[in-house]
Symmetry: D2
Subunit: 136 residues, 4 copies
């Protein structure tokens, strides 16, 4: 999935790396350093970026099997359950629902001690490639 | 609010700037460029970072009035309603509920033509400063 | 909108009545009594039923203008910001985003003193009538 | 947990029954009939009522261990992934995060064929009993 973290993207800027990507599971990591809020904790929005990146890659792998379809995030929700100040966090995305026009993916983000940092759910629309924008 | 976009934070890395910050309204902007996903659209997670940054600043302004209290994000949700490929987006956070122990802030993000890009709601816990982590 | 609160539906069982319904605004009320949880407070799920009922009616009014289309809820989120133990609560739904294939509606529920009880956001899919199920 | 479905509550009115309740897992069911929207599908809000009922019971079992504490729902989100028109649906709530002041519970609702109908996440505040209202 090198193509999903291409130069100039936010994922690349934040140091997100993808270690596993299949239609059933997508795993990726990012450093805490550089992705913090003013108190020195991992920024909650950083967790959202990681979650949305992983879920979108998973949905895209399904969509790619349908000629010309792409995956676009409709909405996301995330609970931040533990602060983390250093090291690396790793997210794992798994499909909850894989439908014809929408997907739901769940993403769990853990610290280096396998403690839950964030749990998120991403709703994705599967749309024809020519619609390069959220469903409107 | 210069102190809220200090060097080394994610907000600084993404080019987020705060133009207005009061307990009643917080406004900030960021460029689309550099904050995109692989299709060239603004990354949905970038909208979450902007939303959570603005809402947290607003909540922090309330918390600061109570000796030693800080604001920590508990959870966030966001609907991505329109793709944007260039220019700057601007978010405005307003308090929906300001309670003793929790806040709810709503954040609307618009493009340069005042078209809605994203709407988000952030739930924040107000905790004593010594608890420098999400409520546990 | 009598047809939306037909006999045998959950809305009818809970005493939900619709006082206004246009593509721009849908308003409805329900009693607290009978819709409570064990502590005697309005059940948070009751607010979700009211929110989803109002937003769905609004989306359906748009969908009806397109031959054979119906509106189906994809997901909902709700913040419960104030408890209420008696009287009537009133919800107002307004469209945040009206797209070709999805809608986003925001619903605010207030008590008899215009104090906010709950704020919710509903994401709706607009699908052909023959698909009488969530998008799959 | 008979005390959680006492007469006059919404859960009782909707026919919700609890079959298992421990701090680690809460299971309950409800009929589709009587809990539908106008198209004859299970009302999305009904799923929210079941989810919030189960998660709240689980959180209350934890809170009860702390003298005088009760559990109050702060916010909920739910994805409706499949329509159901008859029979019974069963929800299972499991704790995602059990903290000092907040809990996060995940609830999955399935039909009689173990197909996922809805997935929800409930954020709960643990507050002293005298605060019989959402955190304010």
């Amino acid at each position: 999935m090198d193509g999903m973290t291409v130069a100039g993207t936010l994922a690349e800027r934040m140091g997100i790396t993808i270690s596993e990507a299949s239609p059933h599971r997508v795993v990726g990591s990012m450093p805490v350093e550089g992705n913090t809020q003013p108190y020195g904790l991992l920024h909650g929005g950083a967790s959202c970026v990681l979650a949305e990146t992983l879920g979108s890659i998973g949905a895209a792998l399904h969509a790619a099997a349908r000629d010309g379809a792409i995956a676009v995030g409709i909405d996301i929700n995330a609970n931040h359950v533990r602060g983390v100040t250093k090291g690396t966090v790793t997210g794992t995305a798994r499909p909850i629902h894989v439908g014809r026009s929408t997907h739901v993916w769940e993403i769990r983000i853990e610290d280096e001690h396998q403690r839950l940092i964030c749990i998120a759910r991403l709703t994705v629309a599967i749309v024809p490639r020519q619609v390069i924008a959220p469903p409107a």
